[in-house]
């Protein structure tokens, strides 16, 4: 724990957030084992009971008597997993697109970035919805759909970096030596992009989690009985007059995760890229 102090100098919020994220992740993995309930067990004796009540339902139960502690942690796991995987998908597409555009330059770059601009100006969630129609609504297709649409900013970030790299001497030297383009991209450009990509990827994860919970909230994402923070909140919103905790518990987790990821991303940016944006 001593080393953590050194991770984000001058960024106490990033340090706290990292610890909080670690705690949430640990809880999400280990927590369900502490409870006698499984995420789809029905406790008919205690339907919609408040948190801290009997039956070891620490966060209470939902309308079907399912344990909210376990379901929320299950939701955290699903949401985190989809967020991370979707980021990975967007990373793959965005980095490839941006690196090629930035390295190619000229007309290819202009055309590729024009396409990004066009998509950028569109409400892309609608395209995610279109994709969920196409791909179906399972968690595995969901992250592909979200990632396939969320790569635009990554492409922009990478292009700017790649373009500035292109004009550096060692790249010019590699070109002059006749090193094949793909090799320059893989061996020289990509490794030098790692810092910027890592920073931006961290900042992308919360956005991806928000889109997932958005879709699940609307019923277009993770389907019952599986849990995600989004569909838990949708059920909570439906019951909030009688059982506000059903909404508040998943809400707090979502907000905590999204905020913490944002702070960690800011901390990383200051660490790896001291220039202010």
């Amino acid at each position: 724990m001593i080393g953590i102090r050194r991770w984000f100098p001058g960024h106490p919020a990033a340090r706290t957030s990292l610890c909080l994220l670690a705690a949430i992740a640990l809880l999400a993995v280990a927590g369900p084992k502490l409870s006698p309930w499984r995420f789809d067990d029905l406790d008919w004796a205690r339907i919609a009971s408040a948190p801290g009540g009997e039956g070891q339902h620490w966060f209470g139960t939902d309308r079907l008597g399912r344990d909210l502690f376990v379901r929320t942690l299950e939701g955290v796991r699903v949401s985190l997993a989809i967020g991370l995987l979707a980021t990975l998908v967007s990373l793959l597409i965005g980095v490839t697109w941006g690196a090629i555009a930035g390295f190619a330059g000229g007309r290819v770059e202009a055309l590729m970035m024009r396409i990004v601009d066009v998509f950028y100006s569109l409400p892309y969630v609608f395209f995610v919805i279109l994709l969920t129609v196409t791909l179906g609504r399972t968690p595995s297709t969901l992250f592909v759909a979200i990632g396939a649409v969320g790569w635009l900013t990554m492409a922009r970030v990478v292009r700017i970096q790649a373009e500035s790299l292109r004009h550096r001497e060692f790249i010019a030297a590699a070109i002059a030596l006749g090193v094949p383009t793909w090799r320059i991209l893989v061996r020289h450009i990509l490794p030098n992009l790692a810092g910027a990509v890592l920073v931006y990827a961290t900042l992308t994860v919360p956005g991806m989690i928000l889109i997932e919970s958005f879709l699940s909230f609307l019923g277009l994402g993770v389907q019952e009985p599986a849990a995600s923070l989004g569909n838990l909140m949708a059920q909570g919103a439906a019951e909030m007059e009688a059982a506000p905790w059903m909404l508040l518990v998943p809400c707090s987790f979502l907000v905590a995760i999204v905020l913490a990821l944002g702070f960690v991303g800011d901390g990383l940016r200051d660490l790896l890229d001291p220039r202010e944006r």
Binding site: V118, Y120, S121, F127, L130, S213, L218, A237, L259
Partner: protein, 309 residues
């Protein structure tokens, strides 16, 4: 003027790409709108397919769709019987646009002054409190804010209705508009603050202060025009964000807007309905972006100059 025309013409290829992409995405999906009704006899299904043109090849369907589109016809809904997509959109769009326009106006109209306030009070208490609240506002999406607002103001305090929509009543609008506006408002405010602070550090602001101008004049004349440029550039994405958020807000508050059609359409594979809405939204956002772009050109003498050249 020539520039404006060129920009409008430049939108056409974009629109063609969008329509094509949306069409392809919807149509490569396995299964059709009538698959779920398993009791459907094969000949009835064939009749239905023929009635909606689903028996034609994809290319033919595409051409047919364009022919309709050019006449402003988005086709019949495949699942909501006896309604055309145009009719459905005509019932939903006014509601969505009303809520969206109010939310957008609130987000920009309040977000910019708040950002400005924070920037001029940098690192003081007002700035810190505001920035903390705004950070929360960005992290908390509309679908969290909306139910929470209902919980507090409608269920606990009974100040405002929980949900519902009667045309012409403003009380029904308050909570949906606020919850829709908040995340965008927070973003606009943070952006304004960052941008104003950046401009305040520029050398020409020191010149303006050295001239002995009153602070308000420095702020209004020297700081704001360049500081608002990035905010102006964000208005397009902000409009898109508000439209997106309206899907959820309409669901939470039971508003009869476009949102429910899109969700139902996506769940039921109502090709034409989803396609029609995506196209309408895309056109809305694109024309809004165009308007912002032209406005930006009017405000910045350097852009104007470059374009003249």
């Amino acid at each position: 003027m020539r520039y404006a025309l060129a920009r409008i013409v430049g939108l056409l290829p974009t629109l063609i790409i969008i329509v094509t992409l949306a069409f392809v995405l919807v149509r490569v999906a396995p299964g059709g709108p009538f698959d779920q009704e398993q009791t459907l006899a094969p000949d009835i299904k064939a009749n239905l397919d023929r009635a909606y043109g689903l028996d034609l090849s994809l290319g033919q369907q595409y051409v047919r769709y364009w022919r309709g589109l050019l006449h402003g016809d988005l086709g019949p809904s495949m699942r909501i019987r006896d309604f055309t997509v145009n009719q459905l959109i005509a019932t939903g769009l006014p509601v969505s646009l009303t809520v969206g326009a109010f939310a957008f106006a609130l987000a920009v109209g309040l977000g910019v002054p708040l950002g400005l306030l924070a920037a001029t009070r940098k690192d003081r208490l007002a700035d810190r409190v505001l920035m903390a609240v705004l950070a929360l506002g960005i992290a908390v999406p509309a679908y969290v804010v909306a139910p929470l607002l209902v919980l507090v103001f409608a269920i606990s305090l009974h100040w405002l209705p929980v949900a519902g929509w009667e045309p012409g009543t403003t009380r029904d609008l308050v909570l949906p508009v606020i919850s829709l506006a908040l995340p965008t408002l927070a973003y606009v405010a943070r952006m304004t603050r960052a941008s104003v602070l950046e401009v305040l550090g520029l050398p020409y602001i020191r010149t303006a202060r050295a001239k002995g101008l009153p602070p308000v004049a420095v702020l209004v004349r020297h700081v704001l025009p360049p500081a608002l440029a990035p905010v102006l550039g964000y208005l397009g994405p902000a409009a898109a964000a508000v439209l997106t958020g309206s899907l959820v807000v309409e669901t939470v508050f039971g508003l009869p807007g476009m949102g429910r059609f899109l969700v139902q359409g996506a769940l039921n594979r109502d090709y034409t309905l989803v396609l029609g809405q995506v196209i309408v939204y895309a056109v809305l956002v694109l024309s809004f972006n165009l308007a912002v772009d032209l406005l930006q050109g009017l405000l910045d003498p350097r852009v104007r100059h470059d374009r003249r050249a």
